[in-house]
């Protein structure tokens, strides 16, 4: 369940092309958190290429995430503009997405954007679910913060407040 993201590479002479596709897909971002690419977020699960047809497999973050259709469309448009008109976007269910798949760069981008990144859930240190785990303020770096609402601007986030710099902020919950 806590496996690292595995970008499969189709066998054959297309490896460098897969790498090119990976670079192209870096442009596709989460419409609700535009600083994160789908790769940063860990929802890009697989890219394969078969006689000109590109198959991109993604998975959802939180169930019923309203951004999925936009993300699918963005993948098609981005690849189409780069000369890949034949694109299939598949959605995988299993294994279920976990915030542990978020890349270190993704976590840093989140923090810079003002959202406290999720802890590693595999290590049993999830704020909210494991009381006593601190959520660090993304603005001033202080651990003296408190939860205002366990569900925030989106279901995947909670609303916090820093007791040092007094700024409110979103915390991306461990899942």
């Amino acid at each position: 369940m806590n496996a690292t993201p595995n970008i499969a590479v189709t066998a054959g002479p297309g490896n460098s092309e897969i790498e090119r596709l990976e670079v192209l897909l870096e442009q596709v971002t989460d419409p609700e958190i535009p600083v994160l690419s789908i790769r940063d977020l860990g929802i890009l699960r697989d890219i394969s290429l078969d006689v000109g047809q590109v198959t991109v497999t993604i998975t959802t973050t939180y169930s019923g995430c309203p951004a999925m259709s936009t993300i699918k469309e963005d993948i098609r448009q981005t690849l189409s503009a780069a000369g890949y008109p034949d694109v299939q976007v598949k959605q995988s269910l299993s294994p279920a997405w976990t915030t542990d798949w978020m890349t270190p760069q993704g976590r840093e981008k989140l923090r810079e954007y003002g959202i406290a990144p999720p802890q590693k859930s595999g290590q049993g240190h999830c704020a909210i679910l494991s009381p006593g785990t601190a959520v660090v303020c993304p603005q001033c770096g202080n651990e003296n913060t408190e939860c205002i609402s366990e569900f925030g601007s989106t279901a995947c986030k909670a609303l916090y407040r820093c007791l040092e710099c007094a700024e409110p902020f979103d915390y991306f919950k461990c899942l």
Binding site: S63, L93, S94, A96, T98, I128, E150, K173, L175
Partner: protein, 250 residues
């Protein structure tokens, strides 16, 4: 005073300009013109809202849109606000009591569904269980906070549990089709979840200083298609766009 029956005919989005009796040169409305000729034709009446649903709601209640808060067509006028379980939404205590009882059920249900022989169902459950734990944590904390809070919050959350309790029995009932799916290892044996559900709910109610409601009364039939009167309002809201704009596309 003797009760009188009144028939009110209200044409939808109908501007006075497009009526013969108001002098339109082309539009022909002979029936409405005859009604106007025999009755009173107002020349300076204004609608309370230029949008149809708020206008009707204001007309029906004799109150302004800002008083009844039916601001636009997304708020059908029906005299009550529907919600999950198609019971009237009530106050925050009603929402949390209902949510808590379902969250306890969901965690048990998805734990069972993760073992389904159907791979897709098992995958959905493995995902949903992680989210359900957050949902349960939140509603459980609110139940405790309201129950063990002020006299008023205690009264409201107790009343909320008393009102919703009779609807919970159905969570653990199955029909023949579902029974065959349980036997095949696809569906969850929901009746078997009841004992754990009761134990969990009981322990939280105790901690919240709340009484377990009387288990005698129950509302059943939802799974056979027999619903309470509140479902009609819910469907009216959900079907609003399709009924107001038949064949709409976007």
């Amino acid at each position: 005073m003797r009760p009188t029956n009144l028939l009110v005919i209200m044409s939808d989005q109908h501007s006075r300009q497009v009526l013969g009796c108001y002098g339109h040169p082309l539009v022909k409305t002979p029936h409405l013109d005859r009604l106007a000729a025999r009755g009173t034709r107002f020349s300076d009446a204004y609608t309370n809202s230029p949008i149809c649903v708020p206008a009707r709601a204001a007309f029906a209640t004799g109150r302004y849109p800002h008083q009844i808060r039916h601001w636009d067509n997304a708020h059908p006028y029906h005299g009550g606000v529907p919600s999950w379980g198609h019971l009237p939404i009530g106050d925050f205590a009603d929402t949390m009591a209902r949510q808590f009882l379902v969250d306890v059920y969901d965690v048990g249900f998805y734990t069972g569904l993760m073992k389904s022989t159907d791979e897709t169902l098992a995958a959905i459950a493995a995902k949903a269980i992680k989210e359900s734990r957050y949902h349960l944590r939140r509603s459980e904390e609110w139940v405790k906070r309201l129950g063990d809070g002020t006299g008023e919050s205690h009264h409201r959350i107790q009343r909320a549990f008393n009102n919703v309790w009779g609807y919970t029995h159905e969570l653990f009932e199955v029909d023949k089709i579902e029974q065959s799916l349980i036997t095949a290892g696809i569906a969850v044996d929901r009746p078997a979840l009841k004992a754990d559900w009761e134990r969990y709910v009981q322990s939280v109610l105790n901690e919240a200083t709340l009484d377990t409601p009387d288990g005698q009364w129950s509302i059943r039939g939802g799974r056979q298609g027999i619903h309470t009167e509140h479902l009609g309002y819910l469907l009216a809201e959900l079907q609003f766009m399709q009924r107001a704009y038949p064949g709409l596309e976007w």
